[in-house]
Symmetry: C2
């Protein structure tokens, strides 16, 4: 039976569950009677509990089935959410174990698997998984204690994170390189590819919200109306844009380049001044590397364009905008540097892509790497642009803009971001370096700001 | 145990097996006592039996494990081959059923699966499968009765097949279109992709013999020595070529575009004047469409360059060479036409690549198709060129050239083919139509022939 072994956690059952699970109870120390439990739903059909004792802490996440467009269920009451979840769990899903076909596993399984795999490859920037219970869809993992906050909130608040580009580039370089054919044998790679094919439901969701809905009429689309009505319409009528998006979508669906996070925007990153932790890889699968890199860069650029909406007299955000652009630039440049460094380190390994017996001359190796990186760069720009567009005219928006209360001001910021994203998507192959991209951001921003000033 | 249920077929056991298998015995009619059995090994570790009765006929193929570089075992005696096969079967392979991980299934499984799937999509050009026995690695299928012969042998003999391009383009258009995201939903597609990831051993073999060995020193490589010694060396030292091959290899390994045959050269096709049948899809997996199309076109071009070696006073093969070029041209052009026709027919279907709600204008649909087809064309040219190169300086050669007894004459033919293939691989993106490609074939051939005449 589909729900065999599954039972929703509540405060009371959670304590029982922890006591019966050594991997969790050991993290909380001897005394389990003083547990402090706080439920912090993430707005999706997840329940996230922070559990703190005098001896330690854990986060316990219970993941329900993934259904498109229910991301706004946070407006439901606790009871209503559980009714919904129970309904979903009555669907003919098959739980994780003992089944031959991975397609029927559900997303908690893939989230836990990706956390473990990425954590193994980059433990400094991925929270440790203590426990995974497939039947219960429960993941127990490290609690990212205060002052960790969601990066997006930090960017809205105008906080600089001096190590962010260093850490993010390290995470991306290691997780992407070590799950690609630059490091893996074909056998290892295909085995993993097959396994993650099972995460198809969330791939479908991405296809719809990123690559489809913004380019057609959809009841789910929204934008800052009426200011962006013509802009949204222009996106839906832009044939050149649609042709580019089709190619990106094909790449997203067909190209199993590496185990990507699949949703690497700035709300999937928790930060302090000196810590960067990547969370929520529930969309993970073998896809194009550029999708992760683009998600991160694109969301930084969104944050940049949102800054004018957060500017106040006391703080015009000028310096902060420069910090964002510098971080964008460094994130790619450091990524490239680190990626090539691990490649060099492992070029004589058993990765099946570039055999040392063929690419055995330093200058040829260098040429091959440069070609690989420029292709990856263009992929990242394309995906980054698509991710920006969908946040402005698609279903799910970003707090960077949403928190700008004045709709006209918000729409001005959004329009600049949208214009830049369209340019980037269409002309991405003309950019040879991230410095050129950042210059184009600056140029477009200044131009439009001039136009607006002039119009006023 | 690995070999549970497996037993090698011999003439005697074959009769028992047929009698106990209704799907086979029904094809042979009432009287099973007059069976005529002929073993026609295919040079690989397969046993192929033609079984004919007064009431009908079948082919029964028993497939052993795939081990690289044993393709020349046809020199072994029957007894020696079975000793080898029994050794291979003692390896820790797991038979097809009851196992959760498709990776451990073996190649008979994928061959049967691909035959059935491609047969369903294009029954006119794929022999019907009557029976598949996974434990025995036995496939029972339609016997392609005389005068069917292997296409390659027909091309060597100088026989024209007026329907070849029509049939091959039909086969390629249907099998590739209907297994791609142009027709399938992401869910259907990923399910199949995952399944065929299990055919990894044969993918590895292709990677090695097509994309790796020709470009490095390898004990398996051979060429017409001493005449092509410098040519082979030039391939191994051609950095531009190696960079292009790296990109093709990545595409082969990463891009799950459609269920491809995986080995679509002219020995995988059986023909008569009015029948074309595609066999032996044991390399099938979800890969780039261009690999199949390129294999076929590339092998036609090899056949073209071999013709001068088959010319005799009574038949200079001039007209036949023109027929081959015309067939090459038509094969692509008809493929493109048929592929777009099925695409148009199913553009409002449930394929996830180009949603009708986005690509809803005829001119946009047309632009999208043109862009798709030109990319596919360039992929096909690249893969075709790589397949040509490997047949001249790699492990496995083609009878087109091998049957030219005079080594100097053979090497002249091979050199022209090799030069053309190198050009094609490096400059493929400059060709906008197959007519341009065929002109380049003709031009290079005539130039070099002139040079040779001049030198003599």
């Amino acid at each position: 039976m589909a729900t065999e072994g599954f039972r929703p956690l509540d405060d009371k059952y959670l304590v029982e569950y922890i006591k019966a699970t050594p991997a969790l109870s050991l993290k909380l120390g001897e005394k389990l009677d003083d547990l402090q439990i706080k439920e912090v739903g993430d707005g999706n059909l997840n329940f996230v509990y922070i559990v703190v004792s005098s001896g330690g802490s854990v986060v316990i996440k219970q993941v329900a089935a993934a259904i498109p467009y229910l991301s706004s269920v946070s407006i439901l009451t606790h009871g209503e959410r559980w009714m919904l979840i129970e309904e979903l769990n009555a669907l003919p899903y098959v739980r994780c174990l003992g089944e031959s076909w991975p397609m029927t596993k559900e997303r908690a399984y893939f989230e836990a698997l990706a956390l473990k795999e990425h954590g193994r490859l980059c433990p400094a920037h991925v929270p440790e998984v203590y426990h995974f219970d497939c039947n219960m869809s429960v993941i127990g993992m490290r609690y990212l204690e205060p002052p960790h906050i969601i990066l997006r909130k930090g960017l809205i608040a105008g906080i600089e994170y001096p190590l962010l580009s260093e850490h993010m580039s390290e995470y991306m370089a290691r997780t992407l390189f070590f799950t690609s054919l630059l490091y893996l044998s074909t056998t290892e790679h295909k085995r993993s590819v097959a396994e993650f094919c099972g995460n198809v439901e969330l791939c479908r969701l991405t296809e719809q919200v990123v690559f489809s809905d913004p380019y057609r009429e959809s009841e789910y689309n929204r934008w800052t109306s009426p200011y962006l009505d013509t802009d949204a319409k222009a996106v839906r009528e832009d044939d050149a844009l649609k042709l580019e998006v089709a190619e990106l979508k094909s790449m997203f669906c067909e190209r199993a380049q590496a185990l990507i996070h699949g949703d690497l925007h700035t709300s999937s990153v928790m930060v302090t001044h000196d810590s960067t932790q990547i969370i929520d890889p529930e969309f993970a699968f073998y896809g194009p590397m550029g999708y992760d890199i683009g998600a991160f860069l694109g969301n930084l650029i969104l944050a940049f364009f949102a800054q004018d909406g957060h500017a106040v007299e006391a703080n015009d955000r000028k310096l902060y905008k420069e910090w964002i652009l510098r971080t964008t630039e460094e994130s790619w440049n450091l990524f490239k540097q680190k990626f090539i460094a691990v490649w060099d380190e492992h070029k004589d390994g058993h990765g099946d892509a570039y055999l040392p017996s063929i690419y055995n001359k330093p200058e040829l190796q260098h040429l091959a790497q440069e070609r690989y990186m420029i292709n990856l760069f263009h992929d990242a720009l394309g995906f980054g642009a698509a991710k920006m567009i969908r946040r402005i005219v698609g279903v799910a928006h970003v707090e960077d803009f949403e928190s700008i209360k004045d709709a006209r001001k918000r729409s001005d910021c959004e329009r600049r971001a949208l214009e830049f994203a369209k340019l980037l998507l269409k002309k991405r192959r003309q950019f040879q370096s991230i410095t050129e991209v950042v210059s184009a951001v600056r140029q477009l921003h200044d131009q439009i700001v001039e136009v607006i000033k002039f119009a006023l």
